[in-house]
């Protein structure tokens, strides 16, 4: 190392990466002006930020594992960024679908088979299609003015970058602190067969994962499932009740939005 230059620590790398990420987001977010230079500069800075995070990330042990994890997380993060910077909301929704497939890949790498598939089916298959329906119903032709400007893009990008920097620094410190995320050695400590069976039943990576997840959900968390069912029913009834208020309420609301006065 050169004596005149301070050594490049992971903390400095993270700081540089989040600074580049904030600048990139600010350049890419809609600000009313459209310049080719800002777009390219934003893309280059975004690539630099992502490379910084890849360099500071920890190695997983094997080239195949790293390649798979890197691919799916890159898909998730890059399409997530494209979701928030794209002008057109329809393209936003499509980028979000791609981000969802990346997230599903990350969940599969983490061993959550059911959740990876459920993310695709429930989010991309149901919720996102609902968003697209609403967009096609409500989107005026052409780019609206509110799609071409943002509220305080610089401040928001800085806020997001500061949050990301603090989170990744504290996540990076976890490996230095042996007490922070130690796993209780339950599988090693058990000796009798019943306790060993309990350990297998709780392990997400053993065989029959989906069946045991269902057992856990409908056994230990049965009350929460019932409450979630009630919540779905309430949301359904609430949505219908808001729609079915009638024409008089619509007229009243129109007057309110125009003049800012409630009758």
């Amino acid at each position: 190392m050169n004596a005149g230059l301070p050594e490049l620590t992971p903390g400095m790398l993270v700081a540089g990466a989040v600074t580049a990420a904030a600048a990139s987001l600010w350049l890419l977010l809609p600000r009313g002006t459209e310049s080719r230079l800002a777009r390219w500069l934003g893309l280059v800075l975004g690539a630099a930020a992502i490379s910084g995070f890849i360099v500071t990330g920890r190695r997983l042990g094997g080239l195949g594992e790293e390649a798979v994890f890197l691919t799916v997380s890159l898909v998730a993060v890059v399409s997530g960024a494209a979701t928030i910077v794209t002008r057109s909301p329809v393209y936003s929704a499509i980028w979000f679908a791609l981000a969802l497939s990346g997230v599903a890949g990350v969940l599969l790498v983490l061993g959550a088979q059911f959740l990876g598939v459920a993310t695709i089916v429930v989010y991309a298959g149901a919720i996102l299609v609902m968003f697209l329906f609403v967009l096609m119903l409500a989107q005026p032709s052409g780019l609206a003015s509110y799609d071409r400007v943002s509220n305080e893009p610089l401040l928001s990008a800085v806020a997001g970058a500061v949050l990301l920097g603090l989170l990744s620094l504290s996540i990076g410190r976890m490996s230095a602190d042996p007490t922070c995320c130690a796993v209780p050695a339950k599988a090693a400590a058990v000796s009798d067969a019943g306790a060993a069976a309990t350990a297998v039943a709780a392990d997400p990576l053993a065989a029959d994962q989906v069946a045991r997840l269902g057992g856990e959900l409908f056994g230990r968390h049965l009350l929460a499932v019932e409450v979630a069912g009630v919540l779905l029913l309430v949301a359904l009834i609430g949505a219908i009740a808001v729609v079915a208020r009638g024409e008089a309420a619509l007229e009243d609301d129109r007057r309110f939005f125009e003049g800012g006065v409630r009758r």
Partner: protein, 153 residues
């Protein structure tokens, strides 16, 4: 299925947590700064995705199903949220003709000033050219070519 990485790998936990933090921060920036209501809700869903990744990473690290079960409830609540939120978005569109979050400033406090948009320069985005299918068969009598084309989506 054999796991791709060893079960108690702290490196996998840390990397997945950073990915979750990135998704959360991106969603935060989106919901703070974008003005289209639909894009704001997409950003909120992006934040939920970041949370899901973190929860499953911890679940994997600790070797139990707690995180998985929480993510299932996150999915449920997200579905409810989307249903109710889209109803409000559609109702607001029916009243104002805009998907702009600033249309809701009629709800502000009486002492706050109304925010005014600055004039925007003209967009230099080129109109999109959509592929067209050749007409098959005969148009029924009385029907004209419908012009449902949009310049942009």
């Amino acid at each position: 299925m054999t796991p791709l990485v060893a079960a108690t790998s702290t490196a996998l936990l840390q990397n997945a947590l950073v990915v979750g933090a990135m998704l959360f921060a991106l969603g935060l920036v989106g919901i703070l700064t974008r003005r289209n209501l639909i894009v704001m809700f997409l950003s909120a869903e992006l934040m939920l995705q970041g949370i899901s990744v973190s929860l499953v990473a911890w679940s994997r690290h600790h070797g139990d199903f707690g995180g998985h079960v929480l993510v299932i409830f996150v999915l449920t609540v997200a579905a409810c949220e989307a249903a109710v939120a889209l109803v409000f978005v559609l109702q607001a569109f029916a009243r104002t003709g805009r998907l702009d979050v600033a249309a809701w400033q009629a709800l502000r406090e009486a002492t706050l000033a109304r925010s005014v948009d600055h004039a925007l320069p003209a967009s230099d985005a080129e109109p999109q050219r959509w592929p067209r299918l050749s007409t098959a068969g005969v148009l029924p009598p009385g029907a004209e070519e419908p012009s449902l084309e949009r310049e942009h989506v």
